[in-house]
Symmetry: C2
Subunit: 343 residues, 2 copies
């Protein structure tokens, strides 16, 4: 168990290091307002804190920096429920000031603004399209050989694919088919479309449509909806400007991890609902060793839709980013709930 004084010292060390990115020594600590005892006392306390694993040295005679355990303690116990700075608050409100009707627009704008405010990298996972429900299917012939199939979901998301048009299928038949499919499949989650077509609708179609086989083969391909969430970025290269990343090797690793979107989105998706902070190796990813990831989920009503995340150095401004993400995710949930539930 830490004494009050140890906690105070830990707090000041973390705050100072977050601010200046330099190891903190006993002498400079003793000069802080909050601290009323001598550097020697601090040295003793720091020795204990180090033994307990909360801080560490970069070399034998350096000042201390927080360890991952230290950051963890700081995040869990030392972050007073922080007020958001009013300037920050104003900017956030401006995201949601104008009425927007498209989820992607909101998501993109949030990502951009968050990264600009913090100079960290923001990552937003959109909702998985596969859970949307079919609102309307449409087939638009382009020429004798090809046509575009369009799927509109209940959230206004549009998927489309252009395909080869089997010869021997007449336009009127296509229309008939589209009508049947619309009637039977409206409201079905996209992920279930294919199964539903084969199980329940095949019989009906076969009765009404010539060339049934050709058409379903083609449509089956079309209904292969991308299974993953869309991913949006803000400030992808912001990390290059952090003083923590002067080592080209680290930069390389980090950047290629960010490029590798699948892994990143998996890493983010794993996090639990609500706010979550993963520090350094807690992310189970070697490229993330010196990074922290803060995630917040957003939802419509009670249903989780996606995740907003901020990626920064372990030394990131938790006390600012956490309330920032809290409010953005809450606002986003509110806007989206209004958008999709009232309608």
């Amino acid at each position: 168990m830490l004494t009050d004084r140890q906690v105070l010292i830990l707090q000041v060390i973390v705050d100072d290091f977050i601010r200046y990115a330099l190891p903190v020594g006993s002498r400079s600590l003793s000069k802080k307002e909050e601290i009323s005892f001598s550097s020697a006392t601090i040295r003793n306390e720091m020795a204990d804190l180090e033994e307990l694993g909360f801080i560490e040295k970069t070399h034998t005679s350096s000042g201390r920096i927080p360890s991952e355990k230290g950051y963890r303690y700081y995040v869990d116990h030392l972050l007073a429920p922080q007020e958001l700075q009013s300037a920050d608050l104003r900017i956030i409100k401006s995201i949601f000031a104008e009425r927007i009707y498209e989820l992607e627009k909101i998501v993109q704008k949030s990502a951009r603004i968050l990264s600009e405010m913090t100079s960290y990298t923001s990552i937003v996972l959109g909702p998985a399209v596969k859970d949307n429900r079919l609102r309307r299917l449409q087939i638009v012939p382009l020429n004798r050989e090809t046509a575009t199939a369009i799927i509109v979901t209940d959230t206004g998301h549009v998927e489309n694919r252009t395909f080869h048009f089997p010869s021997g299928v007449s336009p009127s038949e296509v229309e008939k088919m589209v009508n049947i499919l619309n009637e039977k499949l409206s409201g079905v989650p996209l992920v279930e479309l294919n199964a539903k077509i084969y199980k329940e609708i095949a019989a009906i179609l076969r009765r009404h449509i010539q060339n049934y086989d050709l058409m379903t083969e083609v449509l089956g391909e079309t209904f292969k909806i991308p299974s993953n969430e869309k991913i949006f970025f803000g400030g992808k290269t912001n990390m290059l400007n952090q003083p923590d990343f002067t080592d080209l090797e680290k930069v390389r690793g980090l950047m290629s991890m960010i490029e590798q979107e699948d892994g990143l989105s998996e890493m983010i998706r794993q996090n639990p609902e609500g706010i979550s902070v993963k520090i350094g190796r807690e992310n189970n990813n070697s490229a993330m060793e010196n990074c922290s990831l803060i995630t917040a989920t957003y939802s419509v009503g009670a249903e989780k839709l996606g995740t907003i995340a901020m990626l920064g150095p372990t030394r990131m401004e938790y006390s600012r980013v956490i309330p920032l993400l809290k409010i953005v995710s809450a606002d986003m949930s509110a806007v989206l709930t209004k958008l999709y539930q009232n309608g």
Copy 2:
């Protein structure tokens, strides 16, 4: 005017430096097969080449590296019409092996494969959507308040926007309006849609549609088509692995230039039709000082559609990348011409 021997030496210097990224000295040059005279002779020739501005030293007693002028001469005069390596050729052919019906798919795949083959960064500008022609307009109501407008173009490109649905407009009226618009606007380039609506169709609409004003205002917004080409990347972070970019400052500049898509696409678009090579400062961009950009346009029939570009260090393998881009752009043009002109 350069003597044959000077040209030979320049050629070998450039080839060697492209390969090993190290300044080339007279002694190592004299050991090359192609070279049958002594290092002293080479030194004399190199002194002349340097005076003429084709090569330069990194410091007083270093070997020589090509200057931008040297690369320029190399590209203009020393690149024998190069055969593409058969391995490369096979990979390229595989891009176009399977039948694809969507331009974006082809473009994306090309970008990815080009970057993987070369370990440079590939950038592909898609065609500007605004020049596509309207094939079909569709409005799909989502709920009482919102609807999604969908525009399908003759190339199978789909644009969509979700908008607020003015109260007091009945579904049947919307349908009537959509029908009129489809009839009158089919085949019109997207960029002209708005003007056409106001000039020619307004009168007709006003006669048939109640709430005409509300609807056109909303649709006007919807028809604001993004004016720029879509841009696709392959291997965005490949440049980090080039030995030329060990300086973090350069990396920063380059990366943020790449992130800044508008400027980049402008820089690429400026280039003339066909193949173009811009070396270092020829790109008029400080972040590109140590980079070259090779661009190739692709087209449908005679109409230029877009540009494929490869971004690498000035020290890039021109002799490989140029034929690579030539063939990819030609193949792409062929596929797209077949796709869009026969139909």
